[in-house]
């Protein structure tokens, strides 16, 4: 009973909060909520590589931008109805690209893996800006058409919420599956995993492909929020901010990255209004979280849970 409760609570909270937005939210709130759920999906996919498998990829923005640009360019040239088809094609393209990039990068360890993914990311970004005849360069692409059913902020939010929830559910099942357990084992002790007869490289590659697939879906969804995209989405700072939000929220717990995204976006919104020194304030908050909460923001809840835990309450990952 206790176990089921701790497992279901986060999902309950998830549906409660994001679901209630549909009835409660004003235009701006819906806009923010859409950004949170989509970037949250990005962060959760990223965490399959990072928190779960221990691979710090600085290049996931490649797939995010890829998803956005495939969706944007297809919809613009073929019409709004192709928007949905693009959302199916984008992850496929991402998986294809991830096989190539993954095979090249995953042979490397730690910081070298990270730097190679960064180099690929910057290369892709450079091409997206310079090949302006094809991609529009850094003018970006605006006025991306959507199917009529998805026009309007609220409708699109509901759509994104449904798609994102499906993806998040799949990622969640993955996390709790034997495959997920192997990934966690690879993070903790790759040698031992290979000794039990598992192919470490193949597992890493699969994790990379899965992460890229869902990241591309997030990118494709993003194209529909403002109907405008920009090569910014490929830049290393895009990957960087997802990494930060993931660590901030808590990379060892499943929903941690989503919480990190939510907190960061809300902070930027609230603090950006009040002062031009938002940089300083957010930096100070980040330092506070790091010093006080070794498990990220998720650790805050755990902190309180420890204080108020009933006897026999369980404290590990759901």
């Amino acid at each position: 009973m206790n176990d089921k409760f701790t497992t279901m609570t986060p999902w309950l909270a998830y549906f409660l909060i994001f679901g209630s937005m549909i009835f409660v939210g004003g235009d701006h709130t819906i806009h923010i909520a859409s950004q949170i759920i989509i970037l949250g999906l990005f962060a959760l996919s990223f965490n399959v590589l990072f928190g779960t498998t221990g691979l710090l990829s600085f290049g996931q923005a490649i797939f995010y931008g890829l998803g956005a640009y495939i969706t944007g360019m297809m919809a613009k040239s073929l019409g709004g109805d192709f928007f949905l088809w693009a959302l199916l094609i984008a992850p496929v393209a991402a998986i294809g690209l991830s096989v190539v990039l993954g095979t090249l990068s995953l042979r490397l360890s730690d910081v070298y893996f990270t730097m190679l993914t960064l180099a690929f990311a910057q290369l892709v970004w450079g091409v997206s800006v310079k090949w302006s005849d094809f991609t529009g360069g850094d003018d970006g692409i605006q006025a991306i058409p959507k199917p009529d059913l998805l026009a309007g902020g609220l409708n699109y939010y509901i759509f994104s919420f449904i798609i994102a929830t499906l993806c998040i559910y799949l990622l969640w099942r993955l996390d709790r599956s034997p495959f997920g357990a192997v990934l966690k084992g690879i993070r903790q002790n790759p040698t031992r995993i290979s000794f039990i007869g598992m192919n470490v490289f193949r597992h890493k590659l699969l994790a990379y492909m899965i992460s890229s697939c869902f990241t591309a879906i997030a990118g494709g969804l993003y194209a529909g929020i403002d109907k405008s995209i920009h090569p910014d989405m490929f830049v290393w700072t895009m990957s960087g901010s997802i990494i930060l939000m993931t660590i901030l929220g808590g990379m060892r717990s499943f929903f941690g990255p989503l919480i990190g995204v939510a907190v960061f976006i809300l902070l930027e919104d609230v603090i950006g209004r009040s002062t031009q020194y938002w940089s300083f304030v957010i930096g100070a908050i980040m330092i506070t979280v790091v010093l006080l909460f070794p498990k990220g923001i998720v650790g805050i809840s755990r902190h309180f849970a420890v204080l108020f835990a009933k006897k026999g309450g369980r404290l590990d990952n759901p």
């Binding site: 710090l56 910081v111 070298y112 930096g283």
Partner: protein, 295 residues
């Protein structure tokens, strides 16, 4: 291509390389030797330039500015290390939190600089003694660039000597590889780490002051150098100063000739080089690092 053009591009590339090395040298110390993910390395480069600017405004002497930059950046670095980085030492996900912490430093330093000195661009002039240029037939090299080249060489030789030929250097290397053991030998490891961090940030600050006469001093300039520095450090092999120098030369020259042969794509060449190097030499060209921090 004529010999003249070749020579002039070659020496141009050499200048670029040495400045690149200067900026990256602090990072290879921090990242490669002390094993700290110092994302904010560029910010120390930036505040070094600002400290130098302020000192020159007060004392009208370039060299005082350089010293102020090194000391100022070093002190700020040590302060941040003692107050924050040290507190997360030994944590399970130390590496990840170092990333987060040092990124927070970038945010804070950017605003601090904007608050103290304002958003307007600042400038530092070359010292009178180095303001001219030297002509070698077809090639002109500004005297200041020659100075930078010499400074870079001094740094690489001193760093290599200190780290591998002196007892202090060996303690430093040992302390980051096996903290416990070295601590048991009676070395105050925390102090050593703080000092190394301070020296590395001082090097970053000095590089900022040295580069400033050629560039603009403005808020936000820190983030602009971190990627290039990382590339140099990784290609050269973490912790390897000679490696970093070689990597800087490689990137500088590839860039210099890339501008002639493929002007449209020259700015992407450093990434292409890193990709090629890492594919064929997965640990960088001359890596000598052992044991990595678990994230």
């Amino acid at each position: 291509m004529s010999f003249e053009i070749f020579i002039s591009q070659f020496f141009g590339g050499l200048s670029v390389a040495m400045l690149l090395f200067l900026v990256a040298s602090g990072l290879t110390l921090i990242f490669g030797v002390a094993k700290v993910f110092n994302f904010a390395h560029g910010s120390f480069y930036m505040i070094g330039a600002y400290f130098s600017y302020q000192a020159i405004a007060l004392f009208d002497n370039f060299w005082i500015g350089a010293v102020a930059a090194a000391i100022g950046a070093g002190l700020v670095g040590m302060l941040l290390e003692v107050c924050f980085i040290r507190r997360i030492a030994g944590r399970e996900e130390e590496g990840a939190f170092q990333i987060l912490l040092t990124y927070a430093f970038i945010l804070i330093l950017d605003d601090a600089v904007k608050f103290i000195w304002g958003p307007a661009y600042k400038t530092i002039s070359k010292p009178e003694s180095l303001a001219g240029s030297m002509d070698f037939g077809a090639v002109t090299i500004p005297t200041y660039n020659v100075f930078i080249i010499l400074l870079g060489l001094v740094i690489v030789v001193s760093a290599w000597y200190v780290l591998s030929r002196t007892r202090t250097g060996k303690i430093i290397q040992a302390a980051s590889t096996d903290t416990q053991m070295v601590g048991m030998l009676g070395v105050n490891v925390s102090l050593v780490m703080s000092l190394v961090f301070g020296v590395a940030t001082a090097m970053g600050g000095l590089a900022g002051a040295m580069a400033a006469p050629l560039r603009t001093v403005a808020p936000g300039t820190g983030v602009e150098v971190i990627i290039d520095s990382l590339i140099v450090v990784v290609i050269g092999g973490l912790g390897n100063f000679w490696g970093a120098l070689f990597a800087a030369l490689l990137i500088g020259e590839v860039n210099a000739f890339g501008i002639l042969w493929m002007p449209q794509w020259a700015s992407l060449l450093s990434f292409a080089v890193m990709i090629v190097v890492l594919i064929f030499k997965p640990k960088g060209l001359f890596s000598r690092e052992k044991g990595r921090k678990k994230i």
